[in-house]
């Protein structure tokens, strides 16, 4: 991941962090409807804070200790969720810190930790986009009140005001699956021979 900077192509970054993005996406895909269902079943009044808290708690439980897929880069990894109050979702992938926030835009930094996370470089220093190493990424998720229309974005923060260098929609993991079929070599005969052969006219004449 050393080669990734703030100026890196977002698509390149998306590809690089797929081993962690996939479990995050799948955890959200599972936890979002579950949270909506719990609220309905319990008869609780739905509000954004409660909903998002339930999602965070479930996602955290699902992700911690989960194996990342090795199909992308053949490296075996395990998701380790950081201990953050209020079930905040934060993890590290290689030397990049990823946080998961609800919403479609980056929230403004209201704490020094958040400022430092957004900053990539030392506080107060404007990062040089070409050379500043990518250290922080945000996964933004959003859905409607019933947990439907889940959308997930990967966002590269730029500074503490919540301005981002870029924000990209994360494609659904089902679109990343590749099916390999074993290629069979050309065959002159196949398994119908035994069923059909054995007649006087079985000697064919080529064109």
């Amino acid at each position: 991941m050393d080669h990734l900077t703030l100026a890196s192509d977002p698509d390149e970054v998306l590809q690089a962090v797929r081993p962690i993005l996939q479990p995050i996406y799948e955890a959200l895909e599972t936890s979002v409807p579950k949270a909506a269902q719990i609220i309905t079943e319990q008869g609780w009044q739905n509000n954004a804070m409660l909903f998002s808290h339930l999602v965070r708690a479930d996602v955290k439980a699902r992700l911690h200790g989960r194996k990342c897929p090795i199909e992308f880069d053949d490296i075996s990894r395990e998701v380790v969720m950081d201990s953050i109050c209020n079930d905040g979702l934060s993890t590290n992938f290689e030397d990049i810190t990823l946080k998961v926030f609800k919403g479609v835009v980056l929230p403004r930094a209201t704490s020094s930790q958040r400022e430092s996370f957004y900053q990539h470089t030392l506080p107060g220093i404007e990062p040089d986009m070409e050379t500043a190493r990518l250290r922080s990424l945000v996964v933004l998720w959003d859905c409607d009140v019933e947990g439907a229309n889940l959308k997930i974005f990967l966002c590269c923060p730029r500074d503490k005001t919540g301005i981002f260098a870029w924000r990209e929609v994360v494609a659904h993991p089902s679109a990343w699956i590749v099916v390999s079929r074993t290629e069979s070599s050309a065959r002159v005969s196949d398994d119908f021979d035994e069923l059909l052969q054995g007649t006087d006219e079985s000697e064919g004449m080529g064109e």
Binding site: E12, Q15, A16, R18, Q22, Y25, E26, E29, T30, P33, K34, A36, Q37, T40, P69, E71, F72, D73, G147, A148, N149, L150, H172, P173, S174, A175, W176, I177, V178, V179, S180, R181, T182, S184, A186, R187, V188, S189, D190, D191, F192, L195, L196, Q197, G198, T199, E201, S202, G204, M205, G206, E207
Partner: protein, 364 residues
């Protein structure tokens, strides 16, 4: 003696009405009707005009008529939106292809039919069919077309026209009955193709004899059969473990050869997911645009039948000697070439045992 009837068959295979044929050859519709009914003998000019209009060689018109399928039960099960004439054209085309099968099959060993008749629930019917076909009770059916061809089913690929999906029939020929499945060609939806074939197999197995059941009941039974055949309950209870997501279902799709939507539906039918979860997953499918088009990377390849081409290869060599094939079948070589494009060549042939491997896209 047969000429009038054969002219009718040639006309119907090409999907022409008597009036359309009359317009093409410059005579009255009444004359065509009289000739087809055998009330008048056509002169040479008329026959030559029919040859031009239908693009069948004159030798085709001099042959005895080929056997025709019983259209009543096909009409009974046809989609309500399909027009009678469209269905008739489809059936006539299928008879034409089957006549080619029959012409070659007479020179080859007979493939014993292993499609049982089962008057029982779809689940029990599938159990017996799997046993008869030598399939494991809970394993995916990797190449359904190949399995059925080896069990004596003859596949007819229909031209890709709207309103045609599939139909099946037991054809009585001499002292045996041959199961025929006709499926629309020119398609890209391999999962839908398999479901249609599974549905038609359900009719062949469960509705061979006349049953006192409504059309709706019969159709529902055939769909239930297809679902149990392609997604057996035992296996689904082991594999569809909640919470289900579109991602987990997409991973299952290539191995089971059905759509993600069918897997969601099956999970709901088997009470593996609640109504609410079913609606949520369906909604997610819509939001992702998968109701219109499921992700291309997990597409199920369209199966192609092999038997007809294989039979021709045994008799006429590989590559096929189309001149000899044409002389025997009385169908032009170019038409035979076109027809055989829908049937697998040896080099495309993939044995059932070859497994599909699923992985995620590697980094670029």
């Amino acid at each position: 003696m047969f000429l009038g009837e054969r002219i009718r068959q040639a006309r119907e295979i090409r999907g022409l009405t008597q009036e359309e044929l009359a317009n093409r050859i410059g005579c009255s519709q009444a004359l065509v009707a009289q000739i087809e009914a055998g009330f008048k003998m056509p002169n040479n000019d008329f026959v030559e005009s029919v040859v031009d209009a239908t693009e069948f060689p004159i030798t085709f018109l001099n042959e005895p008529p080929h056997p025709e399928f019983g259209i009543a039960e096909i009409l009974l099960r046809a989609q309500r939106t399909a027009k009678r004439r469209e269905i008739l054209n489809t059936v006539r085309y299928a008879e034409h292809i089957h006549a080619i099968y029959a012409s070659i099959a007479a020179k080859l060993k007979h493939i014993p039919v292993r499609i049982p008749e089962v008057v029982d629930s779809p689940k029990e019917a599938v159990k017996q069919v799997r046993k008869s076909l030598g399939l494991e009770p809970n394993a995916p059916v990797a190449d359904l077309t190949n399995v059925l061809e080896r069990a004596g089913v003859r596949f007819v690929i229909l031209p890709p026209l709207p309103g045609r999906d599939a139909f099946c029939i037991w054809l009585r020929a001499d002292d045996e009955e041959i199961p025929i499945v006709a499926v629309a060609g020119g398609r890209e939806d391999g999962d839908r193709y398999r479901l249609s074939v599974g549905h038609e197999l359900g009719h062949l197995v469960m509705h061979r004899s006349f049953l006192r059941k409504s059309n709706k009941e019969v159709e529902e039974e055939a769909w239930a059969f297809a679902a149990e055949l392609l997604l057996p309950e035992g296996a689904m209870r082991d594999e569809l473990i909640p919470p289900l997501t579109i991602t987990t279902l997409a991973r299952m799709k290539p191995r089971w050869g059905v759509s993600i939507a069918a897997l969601i539906r099956r999970a709901y039918e088997l009470n593996i997911v609640t109504k609410r979860q079913y609606h949520y997953l369906s909604h997610q499918m819509s939001a992702l645009g998968y109701k219109t088009r499921e992700p291309k990377n997990v597409d199920v390849p369209v199966e192609k039948p092999r038997l007809l081409r294989k039979m021709a290869e045994i008799i006429y060599g590989n590559p096929i000697n189309f001149d000899r094939f044409s002389a025997d079948t009385k169908i032009s070589a170019s038409e035979l070439r076109t027809i055989l494009r829908d049937y697998q060549e040896a080099k495309e042939y993939m044995p059932i045992s070859e497994k599909k491997v699923i992985r995620f896209q590697p980094r670029r």
